[in-house]
């Protein structure tokens, strides 16, 4: 059983497959022609709210609507 098979360069650098796949998808989307590009970028937008917790109580949540890179 080859458990020491040659790993891909991105895994050797500490990146997971899902990160690699998302980076590839973003690069492809950035190379689209105009109407398709704005559709694709708006399709992949995410909105989320984060609240940090201290002493068992949530603080005020912050709303983030990042472009889906990280």
């Amino acid at each position: 059983m080859a458990s020491n098979a040659a790993v891909p360069f991105w895994r050797a650098a500490g990146m997971t497959y899902i990160t690699y796949s998302n980076i590839c998808a973003n690069l492809v989307r950035n190379c689209l022609k105009e109407p398709y590009k704005t559709e694709a970028l708006s399709r992949e937008k995410v909105h989320f709210s984060i609240s940090k917790w201290t002493d068992g109580k949530p603080e005020k949540p912050t709303l983030r609507s990042d472009s889906p890179e990280e």
Partner: protein, 201 residues
């Protein structure tokens, strides 16, 4: 040392005879439980028994004994289903091990895809898509499931943006310091050069 190695070998060759079958070779699970339906109709004869999720799903067709004439392809993206059980003659997928042609009767395979061109051949027409990455699962019954994160027809790609991206990432690779930056720059170069060869080739 060699004597011990040759004694170990005969033990391993007995094991494959008991290998477990693939899921496509097993008979499909029955979609309705007979005892439940009988018990239901005894107690509530006027209402139909509730449907279980299994009855909504179509079981995968079993592996036919002779090679079918067409390959059935399901090509899906996270936001849309490009091809759903489409019967085609051949697909060429950009696997990490090279361009792989899949014909009906292909051996069951799981392949990881690299950024490249996927072409679907049906009769005399051929449709090409640029796939960013994903997987292809080829089953023994000539069904192929292609899953990709992003797949675009080639005419939606802008050549200038591709070449600009390629130049940008080539310069990033030379100025990268950490392993992670180098890996990202290398990914950029791979993707953009695949895009470039797809558009020019």
């Amino acid at each position: 040392m060699l004597g011990r190695a040759s004694m170990l070998l005969p033990c391993r060759s007995i094991l494959p005879a008991r290998a477990r079958p693939f899921s496509t070779d097993l008979p499909a699970a029955p979609s309705a439980d007979a005892t439940f339906t009988e018990a239901w109709t005894k107690v509530i004869p006027n209402m139909d028994p509730p449907k279980t999720p299994l009855s909504f799903m179509q079981p995968r067709p079993p592996t036919p004994s002779s090679i079918p004439s067409k390959l059935t392809v399901n090509f899906v993206l996270p936001y849309a289903s490009e091809l759903a059980t489409k019967e085609v003659d051949m697909v060429i997928v950009p696997a990490t091990t090279g361009q792989m042609g899949v014909l009906p009767g292909h051996v069951a395979t799981i392949a990881e895809l690299k950024p490249g061109v996927l072409s679907v051949h049906e009769g005399s027409e051929m449709t090409k898509y640029f796939v960013s990455s994903g997987f292809v699962f080829i089953h023994a019954n000539s069904f192929a499931d292609i899953i990709a994160v992003e797949a675009v027809p080639l005419d939606r790609l802008d050549v200038n943006l591709v070449q600009k991206g390629l130049a940008e990432f080539t310069s990033k690779l030379s100025s990268a310091t950490t392993d992670l930056e180098k890996a990202e720059a290398q990914i950029g170069i791979d993707v953009h050069s695949a895009l470039n060869s797809a558009l020019t080739g």
